[in-house]
């Protein structure tokens, strides 16, 4: 179905006063423009207007606006929250997009064309046909070391990253290892240092030379940035202190996977600990 057909079909419905996919065309145009600029300058934070949404800022409005400005009636949408298809945030966003754009949703990653995610990247590799949209709470990777936006922008412009590196040096001196567990800063395309959103370390290597396009939206902070397909994404590391990902001593209790990011679940009944894949779509597929 193309856009005209969709509009013809829906002109008598209660949502008719809204445009397709909720946002009006000029808002979409502005977001798409920012997206194009973001893709053209990998890792650079492009400011955008971030209009009001029927969801509070900080609940995924950045990702939602990107999704809505890209979605078409024939898309297959997958929304996950910390890897899970069924959590409240994911379900509500999925329902909302389904209502205003009437797209099909799916939990199967290989079927989806558009994937919106919070804090995880799906375990299965994606293809050139797919777009991954990440929700971002804090787009500025340098915020930890510099509170002023004016100053961080200057630092990005001049590639003045000594203080970020110093932050990591101090971590190693103090704890013997870099203590950042999620939001691990990366260098994109050998240039900008970028915040990859609060994904675990486990997911960082998946961004490197990936086939899919990754788009990052921060609604509250009004920033969009992107990693185009086949782009170098390197975590910050020292020659004698290499980046490493999480290690799990066990396999998933449900599907037996030894090669996925696991959540620890503590039983309410007897306090026993079990580990399950955090990516439910992946786990379901393996268990089926």
């Amino acid at each position: 179905m193309n856009l005209q057909e969709w509009q013809a079909q829906h002109q008598n419905e209660s949502l008719q006063s809204y445009n397709f996919a909720f946002l009006d065309d000029s808002a979409k145009k502005e977001i798409r423009r920012s997206l194009l600029k973001a893709v053209a300058i990998p890792g650079y934070q492009v400011p955008f207007s971030s209009p009001e949404m029927p969801v509070a800022r900080g609940w995924g409005t950045g990702g939602l606006q990107i999704t809505l400005s890209l979605v078409l009636p024939h898309d297959f949408l997958k929304v996950i929250d910390q890897g899970c298809d069924d959590s409240v945030n994911a379900v509500n966003i999925k329902k909302f997009v389904a209502k205003v754009a009437e797209v099909n949703s799916t939990t199967d990653i290989s079927e989806a064309t558009l994937i919106q995610t919070r804090h995880r990247i799906p375990e299965e590799p994606m293809t050139e046909e797919q777009i991954l949209v990440l929700q971002v709470p804090y787009p500025e990777a340098l915020r930890e070391v510099e509170p002023s936006e004016l100053e961080t922008r200057r630092m990005h412009a001049e590639g003045d990253y000594a203080r970020m590196w110093l932050h990591l040096y101090e971590d190693i001196v103090r704890y013997g290892e870099i203590s950042i567990s999620y939001r691990y800063p990366v260098t994109v395309n050998g240039h900008y240092i970028m915040d990859p959103s609060p994904i675990p370390r486990w997911d960082i290597p998946k961004l490197h030379m990936s086939e899919h396009l990754s788009l990052f939206g921060a609604g509250r902070e009004k920033r969009i940035y992107a990693i185009p397909p086949y782009t170098r994404v390197e975590p910050l590391e020292f020659e004698d202190h290499k980046f490493r990902i999480e290690q799990f001593p066990v396999a998933c209790s449900r599907c037996g996977s030894c090669n996925s990011y696991l959540d620890e679940i503590i039983s309410d009944v007897d306090g026993s600990r079990q580990y399950f894949c955090s990516d439910t779509g992946y786990c379901d597929k393996r268990s089926a």
Binding site: A162, Y169, E170, D240
Partner: protein, 291 residues
């Protein structure tokens, strides 16, 4: 021997400035505030040459423009006018090509460079020690980290090697290596000053800028810091620009001296000459008032 650093007509005016500023301020008028537009002429048309391995002193009272000169040379403030050129052989490979006019032995006017290039020049061959260690050090970061920051800025990415270099420098500046991972806020004023010196030396600078380094330290500590600076200068053949209002410091460290007042250089020459036989009225006053 060829000049390492050439500065010509360095000027810094705070305020809107007017055509009459320069001719109505200075020692002859006993002010550096322009009576017409009330701009402050912090320094005006200062020329100097710095040779390799030479220590040039700048002496004068508070507000005479000596610290302004250091801040201009370190690219912290934007100059209102003037030129500064470095000898190309001093620059590391790559940078020299970037900044050079083909046939010239000297770089282009360094004030015309972008901030990014200025930072490259600064990282590659300048070090600075401020009067107040809070300006030069991050007080909450370990002393080793403070030194590492400059190395990281210059592209070092090996923790072990950086720590090795840091301990080498701390040893030179007489800080116990066991305190390398302590932040400078735990240290005494003299120790902080020595950490600052270690930090300034970390990238093997050719040019060291010292801004009132011993002011505020007690006399015995002053003597040790000066001793340290003197021996480091000999060891590394540093070229230094030393700003002080203390003639004792100037006498101890500097080969040549400029006397400044109200933003102008009133007298310059060999340090001994200026101290023994000052020519300008103000220099005479300065020398005579020395305890």
């Amino acid at each position: 021997m060829e000049t390492l650093l050439k500065a010509r007509k360095l000027s810094k005016v705070f305020g809107s400035g007017c055509p009459l500023c320069r001719e109505s301020t200075g020692p002859d008028f006993d002010t550096n505030v322009c009576p017409h537009c009330h701009s402050v002429v912090a320094c005006n048309a200062v020329d100097f040459d710095l040779y390799p391995g030479e220590v040039l002193g700048i002496v004068g009272e508070s507000g005479s423009g000596k610290s302004t000169l250091i801040k201009l040379a370190h690219f912290e403030w934007e100059a209102t006018g003037g030129e500064m050129n470095l000898h190309r052989s001093a620059l590391p490979e790559g940078l020299g090509e970037l900044l050079a006019d083909a046939a010239d032995q000297y770089t282009r006017n360094l004030f015309g460079l972008s901030q990014f290039q200025q930072r490259q020049v600064r990282n590659a061959l300048m070090g600075i020690v401020y009067q107040n260690p809070f300006l030069g050090l991050r007080m909450n970061v370990s002393s080793g980290g403070n030194i590492a920051e400059r190395l990281l800025g210059a592209g070092w990415r090996h923790i072990g090697k950086m720590r090795e270099r840091a301990s080498e420098l701390l040893e030179k500046t007489e800080i116990p290596i066991s305190r390398m991972d302590e932040p400078p806020k735990n240290f005494s004023g003299g120790m902080q000053q020595r950490v600052q010196i270690a930090k300034a030396l970390s990238n093997n600078p050719l040019l060291l800028l010292l801004d009132e380094v011993t002011t505020g330290l007690d006399l015995s500590v002053q003597a040790r810091v000066l001793d340290l600076i003197r021996s480091l200068q000999r060891e590394f053949q540093l070229s230094m620009l030393v700003v002080s209002h203390d003639l004792g410091v100037i006498n101890l460290l500097c080969n040549r001296t400029m006397v400044m007042k109200h933003g102008r250089v009133v007298e310059s020459g060999l340090t001994d000459q200026i101290l023994q036989d000052p020519q300008h009225r103000y220099s005479q006053l300065l020398v005579a008032s020395q305890l």
